[in-house]
C-alpha cells in the first residue's frame, strides 16, 4: 500500500493544457475521489500516476520516491477503466490470471488459483469463471476488471469512472461493494468520477478538479458544507447550493436587485469589511424552509417529487431558488408561500472572485 504525492504537476497535449500546477496528497489506505466535469483533467491525473503519460512538469512520488523514470509495470498500480478492457477470447479465469502469469514474476500455480478464487469470491463472480468475457453483462465485466486489479495486490488502485457505464441499480450496488472492498483490503484507492453522489458516498477525501486545477480537497462533509468557491458550491450537491447575489447591511442579508431581506448570524465574520460589499450568499436547499411567519414571500415555480422529499423551485421576482421540503408538504404550483433560511448555514462568497470568505481567511 502506498502514499501518493503529486507536486506541481502540469500536463499539456500540444496546445491544450490539461493540468496546471496540480498538487495532490493521497494518504496510505485512503479512498480518495477525484471529482470533476468531463474534460477537467481527471483521467489525465490518473494516467500520470499509472505511468501511461509523462507530466510536462512536476513530480509524482509513490511512497516518497520520485517515479518519473518508472514505467507502468514498475509502479505496481492497478487501473480499472471505464471501458472494461477485458482481454477478449479469454475466459474470466484466464483474464484474472493474466496479471499473475508473465514469466518474470510467475507465481506458483497453486498460489495463482488461490488468489483468483479469492478475488472471484469477493466479487461474487465464481459462477462466471469459465465463461468467455464477451458473454458477460456490463456489471459482470466491470467486476471482472476490478477482479483483475485485486488479484495482484497492487500498491495503489486507480479507477477511472468504473461505474459510469452501468445502470443505476448496479451502480449503487457496486458503489457499496467497492467501498467495502477498499476497507477490507485497506488499500489506497484513487477513484475518478464526474458523479458527485459517488464522490460523496465513497470518498474518505474528495478533490474537486476544474480546468486542470484542484479547487478544493477535503472530506465530503467539508466539501459539502464549506465549499471553497461558487464552482464547488454549485457542482457538489443535488440539487446544487442556491447562490444569490446580495449584500450585508446591519447584520442582515439584503438580496441585491430584489430587496428581500433575511437574517444573518455570521457574527464575527460579518465584520465591517464585508458590510456593503457585493457578495454571493450560498444556502443549501435543505436549509431553506417554508413557514407561515417567515420573512420572505415567494411563489412555487415547480415541484419535483422524489418520494422521500419534494424539491421546490421558489420564485421571488426573477430569482429562483430551490428548497427541499418533506414529501408530505402540500403545495401547488403558483401557490404563494413564505420561506426563511437557516442563518447558521449560510456561506458567503466574494462576488468578484467567487471564493468563500471563510477560505479567503
Amino acid at each position: 500500500m502506498a502514499h501518493i504525492q503529486l507536486k506541481n504537476i502540469s500536463k499539456s497535449f500540444g496546445n491544450h493544457t490539461a493540468l496546471t500546477g496540480l498538487d495532490l496528497d493521497i494518504a496510505d489506505g485512503e479512498f480518495f475521489v477525484l471529482l470533476g466535469e468531463t474534460g477537467a483533467g481527471k483521467t489525465t491525473t490518473l494516467r500520470l500516476i499509472a505511468g501511461l503519460e509523462k507530466p510536462s512538469e512536476g513530480q509524482v512520488f509513490i511512497d516518497g520516491v520520485d517515479v518519473a523514470d518508472w514505467g507502468a509495470a514498475e509502479r505496481d498500480v492497478a487501473l480499472v477503466l471505464q471501458q472494461y478492457s477485458l482481454y477478449p477470447r479469454y475466459t474470466v479465469r484466464e483474464n484474472l490470471e493474466f496479471p499473475l502469469k508473465p514469466k518474470i514474476r510467475r507465481l506458483p500455480d497453486a498460489e495463482i488459483k488461490d488468489r483468483v478464487d479469492r478475488a472471484a469470491r469477493t466479487l461474487r463472480i465464481e459462477h462466471l469463471l469459465d465463461r468467455k468475457t464477451d458473454r458477460l453483462s456490463g456489471g459482470e465485466m466491470q467486476r471482472v476488471s476490478i477482479g483483475r486489479a485485486i488479484v495482484r495486490k497492487p500498491r495503489v488502485f486507480l479507477m477511472d469512472e468504473p461505474l459510469s457505464a452501468l445502470d443505476a441499480k448496479l451502480r449503487e450496488a457496486l458503489r457499496t461493494e467497492l467501498k467495502n472492498l477498499q476497507m477490507q483490503l485497506g488499500a489506497t484507492f484513487l477513484f475518478v468520477t464526474h458523479d458527485q453522489i459517488e464522490a460523496m458516498s465513497m470518498g474518505d477525501k474528495v478533490g474537486v478538479l476544474n480546468h486542470g486545477r484542484i479547487i478544493q480537497t477535503g472530506t465530503p462533509h467539508e466539501i459539502y458544507n464549506n465549499p471553497r468557491d461558487t464552482y464547488v458550491a454549485s457542482f457538489v450537491g443535488s440539487p446544487p447550493m442556491n447562490l444569490i447575489d446580495g449584500k450585508l447591511v446591519n447584520g442582515r442579508a439584503v438580496m441585491a436587485p430584489l430587496n428581500f431581506e433575511l437574517p444573518f448570524s455570521g457574527g464575527a465574520k460579518a465584520s465591517a469589511a464585508t458590510e456593503g460589499r457585493p457578495l454571493v450568499f450560498g444556502i443549501r436547499p435543505e436549509d431553506v424552509y417554508l413557514e407561515s411567519g417567515a420573512p420572505v414571500e415567494a411563489r412555487v415555480h415547480d415541484v419535483e417529487n422524489h418520494g422521500v422529499e419534494k424539491i421546490l423551485t421558489l420564485r421571488v421576482g426573477d430569482t429562483t431558488l430551490r428548497a427541499t421540503v418533506p414529501a408530505r408538504t402540500d403545495v401547488a404550483i403558483e401557490q404563494p408561500v413564505r420561506f426563511a433560511w437557516n442563518p447558521d448555514k449560510v456561506v458567503l462568497f466574494d462576488k468578484g472572485s467567487g471564493v468563500s470568505l471563510r477560505h479567503a481567511g
Partner: protein
C-alpha cells in the same frame, strides 16, 4: 421476410412509367451476370468434367472415347505428377510463410505513429499492384547472372539463380514473397489497428512484458485476419503459373499448374489434363476447407 428487403419502386419514377416492375429491373441486372457465369465458367467446368473421363485430344479430329477413371488412375500413379505436387507444396509453404513473416513484420513496424506513414504504406503496396508477367520479366533481369543487380549487390559473381536446379524454386518463391507480402501487410495493419489501445495499456499496467503482450494479446486478436490472408495466399500460390513460367524452365521448379499447361497445350492430352485440373481443384477445395474450419475455430476462441 426476404421480400421486404427489396425496395419498392417509386410509383412516380420514370422506370415505373415505362412499365418496369421491381422484378423486371432486378432481372435486368442479374440475368447478364448469370448468363456470363454459365457460359464462361460453369459450362466449361462441367464440359471438362466430361472430357476428364475420355481420351480426347484437341489437336486431332479423332472422336473422344470414354475411358472411365483411367485418366485419374494414371495420373495418381504417375511419380512425375506427384513430384510436381511436392514441388508445389514446397513452393506454397515457403512463399506463404515468407509473406506472412515479412508482411506481418512490416505491419508491426508501421503500426505506430511515424511521419509519412500513409505515403510509406502506399509505396509499400506497389509490388502487388503490378502485373504478374511484368514482375516475372523484370525479376528475371534482376536475377540475371551476368548483369543482374542482385548478384552485383550481394557480390555473388555469376551465380545462376534461375538455372540452378536447387535455387530456381526458391528464387521464384522469393519473387512471390516480394510481390505479395504487401497484401499480408495490408490485412495485418487492418487487424493491428483494430486492437483497442486500452488493452495494451491494461497489459502494461498488469506488468506484462512485450513478448507476453504480443503472444497473449496482439497475436490472438490479429489471428483471424491473418488466417484470411493465409487462405488467400495459399490458394493463389497453389495455382501460380505466370510468375514461375516466365522466370524459370527448371524441372525442379515445375509447379503443378505448369505441368497442367504443358499437358494440355504442348502434349495436347486434353482429356488427361482435364482430369489433372479436377484433381487440383479438389485439392484446393480441401485445403481451403480445412483453413476455413480452422478460421472459424480461431474466431470462436
Amino acid at each position: 421476410m426476404a421480400t421486404t428487403m427489396i425496395t419498392t419502386l417509386d410509383r412516380s419514377s420514370r422506370a415505373a412509367a415505362r412499365g418496369l416492375s421491381d422484378i423486371s429491373i432486378r432481372n435486368l441486372f442479374i440475368i447478364p451476370t448469370v448468363l456470363f457465369l454459365i457460359v464462361f465458367n460453369i459450362f466449361p467446368l462441367i464440359y471438362s468434367l466430361g472430357y476428364s473421363f475420355t481420351d480426347f485430344r484437341a489437336s486431332t479430329n479423332a472422336s473422344a472415347n470414354f475411358v472411365g477413371l483411367q485418366n485419374y488412375r494414371d495420373l495418381l500413379n504417375d511419380p512425375y505428377v506427384w513430384s510436381n505436387f511436392a514441388i508445389t507444396a514446397k513452393y506454397v509453404i515457403i512463399s506463404v510463410a515468407g509473406q506472412l513473416l515479412v508482411g506481418f513484420g512490416v505491419a508491426m513496424l508501421l503500426n505506430r505513429d511515424i511521419p509519412l506513414k500513409g505515403l510509406l504504406t502506399t509505396l509499400l503496396l506497389l509490388p502487388m499492384m503490378l502485373s504478374m508477367a511484368v514482375v516475372g520479366l523484370f525479376w528475371k533481369l534482376l536475377y540475371d547472372p551476368s548483369f543482374g543487380i542482385i548478384n552485383y549487390a550481394l557480390g555473388l559473381g555469376t551465380f545462376e539463380w534461375l538455372s540452378d536446379p536447387k535455387m530456381a524454386l526458391y528464387a521464384v518463391a522469393l519473387t512471390d514473397i516480394w510481390m505479395w507480402s504487401p497484401f499480408v501487410m495490408l490485412l495485418s495493419l487492418a487487424g493491428l489497428s483494430a486492437v483497442p489501445k486500452h488493452l495494451y495499456e491494461a497489459a502494461a499496467i498488469d506488468r506484462a512484458g512485450p513478448f507476453y503482450t504480443f503472444f497473449r494479446i496482439t497475436l490472438p486478436l490479429v489471428a483471424p485476419i491473418l488466417m484470411i490472408a493465409v487462405i488467400f495466399r495459399t490458394m493463389e500460390a497453389f495455382k501460380t503459373f505466370d510468375l514461375a513460367y516466365i522466370l524459370t524452365t527448371q524441372p525442379t521448379a515445375e509447379l503443378i499448374s505448369i505441368r497442367l499447361y504443358k499437358m494440355a497445350f504442348q502434349e495436347w492430352q486434353t482429356g488427361r489434363s482435364c482430369a489433372l485440373a479436377y484433381i487440383v481443384l479438389i485439392m484446393v477445395l480441401a485445403i481451403t476447407n480445412i483453413y476455413v474450419k480452422y478460421l472459424n475455430k480461431v474466431k470462436e476462441r
